[in-house]
């Protein structure tokens, strides 16, 4: 026993020493970490956490851009990249860093609105706006990243979202084209049901992204609703449009979706659509590359998929929260802006469109090297009668979190649409 104890103590000491020395170790080689390798001594180091790692559709684009930036600014600027897999993990870590006043030089939460909750620690970019920076995004995109006339974010992408439908399943149900009104939409859902097809992919977890896109599109089916869906940080959800839309969502949960919708996340909703278990899914063009991935879907699946705008001519067509800057001194602010200008350059945005299907923030960027559905979605965005922003960009972060709590209750009939609206109003009131 004495020997064992001595061995354990020795092991503890050796491993502790190894652990203490961990910081001096060179980080393991991964695509996103490449920039932190071999920094020149005089280079300014800026920090940037990325969620575009692993299976993310942006991983390859990000690795490519970082490598290119590194090559161009070697010895001048060194971007220390932190990999944070999972968008919710990313937001959680930013919250802790914000609380301890140690936000990184630049961060981008993939569309989550952290401007309003972290504004006091973000750099007001208005004085740094020059022609080069301004030209990187449309006015609409800059507007989404501004508060009270001050710019707090550098836009990266536009948000153009409609819904995708399976043309084969529509044909089986005798549906010729996507609905133009919500009444017609529900008639089509009934036809699909009658043909033995589950109409909708839905979810509740992680702010119920797919479900919430439908909810907000229904809200926007009127002038007042459209205004609501373009209002930043709404406080009152007790509007007739919102309550009606919540009632429709309740009906969708109870009648038109799969059993795994309640409690399910995006991947469950997507999986049902990929396996042709459901006929409709609301999502953006970044999903298109999966339609061609035969590891995910049957050969020829992509040819069956059509794109549609929401009934009433509604499309999500707006800017998206981009990169926020929280550098503490002028030198780092300048270095960070140089990095962001590179990452958002015309070349970078064109590559983003081609590699990820994400819509560039800059106007006039197009490419023949994209999947047809991506261009279809873009065309629908241009043709939309009503253009709205998405809930993750507009609503308070805690309201977005609250949705996941309330959707299952709404789905199971434990609360009424009015109570659902009130719950979100109560959450907004806490800010």
């Amino acid at each position: 026993m004495k020997k064992l104890f001595a061995l354990l103590l020795t092991l503890a000491m050796v491993l502790s020493m190894a652990a203490c020395g961990a910081k001096e170790e060179k980080p393991a080689e991964t695509p996103a970490e490449t920039p932190s390798e071999a920094p020149a001594e005089e280079a300014i180091e800026i920090t940037f956490p990325t969620m575009w790692v692993g299976t993310s559709t942006m991983t390859q684009w990000w690795a490519d851009r970082i490598a290119a930036f590194n090559a161009e600014y070697a010895g001048k600027i060194n971007v220390k990249v932190e990999e944070i897999a999972g968008d919710q993990n990313y937001v959680d870590k930013m919250k802790v860093l914000y609380s301890s006043n140690s936000l990184p030089d630049a961060f981008a939460a993939g569309g989550y609105n952290l401007i309003d909750s972290m504004q006091d620690q973000l750099v007001d970019l208005t004085p740094y706006m020059d022609d080069e920076l301004k030209s990187l995004a449309s006015d609409l995109c800059w507007e989404v990243n501004s508060r009270d006339g001050k710019i707090y974010g550098v836009p990266q992408a536009r948000q153009v979202i409609g819904y995708f439908y399976n043309k084969d399943l529509f044909a089986q149900a005798g549906i010729e084209k996507p609905a133009e009104t919500w009444d017609e939409f529900f008639v089509q859902c009934d036809k699909l049901l009658a043909a033995g097809i589950t109409p909708l992919s839905m979810d509740t977890a992680d702010s119920g992204w797919v479900t919430s896109l439908m909810l907000c599109a229904m809200v926007a089916d009127s002038d007042a609703g459209e205004e609501f869906m373009n209002t930043n940080l709404p406080k009152d959800y007790n509007t007739p449009e919102f309550i009606q839309a919540a009632a429709n969502i309740q009906k969708m949960f109870q009648k038109y979706t799969t059993p795994d919708a309640v409690g399910g996340a995006y991947e469950n909703a997507a999986a049902n659509f990929f396996m042709e278990e459901t006929a409709i899914i609301a999502n953006g063009p970044w999903m298109v590359s999966d339609f061609y991935d035969t590891n995910m879907v049957e050969e020829g699946f992509a040819e069956k998929i059509g794109c549609a705008m929401y009934p009433g001519g509604v499309m999500y067509n707006s800017g998206k929260i981009g990169f926020n800057v929280a550098s503490k001194d002028e030198e780092h602010i300048q270095a960070t802006l140089t990095f962001l200008k590179f990452i958002n350059s015309e070349e970078s945005q064109r590559l983003m469109l081609e590699m990820t299907g994400d819509v560039p923030a800059m106007e006039g960027i197009s490419s023949d090297n994209v999947k047809p559905q991506v261009n279809e979605v873009l065309a629908l965005g241009d043709a939309a009668k009503r253009s709205i922003n998405d809930f993750q960009s507009l609503w308070y972060a805690n309201v977005v979190d609250e949705i996941s709590v309330q959707y299952p209750l709404l789905a199971q009939g434990q609360i009424t649409p009015e109570q659902f609206a009130q719950a979100l109003t109560d959450a907004a009131a806490k800010n």
């Binding site: 910081k23 980080p27 692993g54 301890s100």
Partner: protein, 276 residues
């Protein structure tokens, strides 16, 4: 001689079979799924894979720095477990054996830390580690994990030490052993089953901990395995095959540790059951 099949034995067989199925079933499903393509997982969750080629494992190792995370998880879990067992066992021994003013208060105070939600500790610990310049080191995680397991280990070890006959220590003292010698050569070996239980709980806590690993580290070179699992499901994409392969690699050590120490744990549980 053939054993007669009775209703009791059939029921016993069914009962045990049920528990084996719910314990081992999910594990086997995960391992089986790690050899299936995404399409196969989505189309028929219970069918056998069309190929047993380790494509998912290759993809998992390419997508996430699992090797580095693995090494870190092993170092951090083992060191924090050893640290926790050695330090807490000494504290627990003193608190179990020596009656002094404030003894109960100290036990209550340390046990009460079990009631503090981990989320509320994130910010203060982040600040402390920043001040200690331990941010982004394995040492930070080792210290935090060893401390997180303190109340559970203390509770376990203290009650175990209380069950060891005092006469054994008195005999050691009479034979001329000092305090430390008595603890390390008499009490510590006798408490092996209790210590093993505490060690395994501590190892599993350290092995599976996610939030502190995320918050206190930023370099991939010092991060741990639980963070790796998020590389396979992102906001708008997922790779179930690689995720299940990674999951298999992640849970394997826990199962091995549990299997190796299982006898000790069972023995400790039984011993604890008859203590007053």
């Amino acid at each position: 001689m053939k054993k007669k099949l009775t209703l009791g034995s059939v029921l016993r067989f069914l009962f045990l079979g049920f528990f084996v199925a719910i314990s081992v079933g999910p594990l086997l499903w995960v391992i089986m799924s790690s050899f299936k393509t995404n399409k196969e997982i989505l189309s028929n969750a219970f069918a056998l894979p069309s190929s047993w080629a380790p494509v998912g494992y290759k993809a998992a190792l390419e997508m996430a720095p699992i090797g580095t995370f693995y090494k870190n998880s092993i170092i951090i879990s083992v060191v924090s477990t050893v640290l926790n067992v050695v330090v807490v066992s000494m504290a627990a021994y003193v608190l179990a054996r020596h009656k002094f003013r404030g003894n109960t208060f100290i036990v209550l105070l340390l046990s009460m830390s079990m009631l503090i939600p981990t989320a509320s500790l994130l910010m203060p610990i982040y600040k402390i580690m920043t001040a200690l310049k331990l941010l982004n080191t394995r040492t930070a995680l080792i210290l935090v994990y060893a401390a997180l397991g303190l109340p559970t280990s203390l509770f376990l070890f203290r009650s175990y030490f209380q069950g060891i006959p005092k006469e054994l220590e008195e005999a050691a003292y009479i034979d001329g052993a000092g305090f430390f010698r008595t603890f390390f050569t008499i009490v510590f070996p006798l408490a092996k089953p209790g210590l093993a239980t505490g060690a395994i709980l501590q190892f599993l806590t350290s092995w599976n901990e996610f939030m502190f690993a995320l918050i206190l580290t930023s370099d991939t070179s010092v991060r741990t395995l639980p963070l790796a699992l998020n590389y396979f499901t992102s906001q708008f994409s997922f790779n179930y095959t690689a995720m299940f392969a990674a999951l298999t690699m992640v849970i394997l050590p826990s199962i091995i540790v549990y299997a190796v120490l299982q006898e000790q744990i069972t023995s400790s549980m039984v011993d604890g059951a008859v203590k007053g």
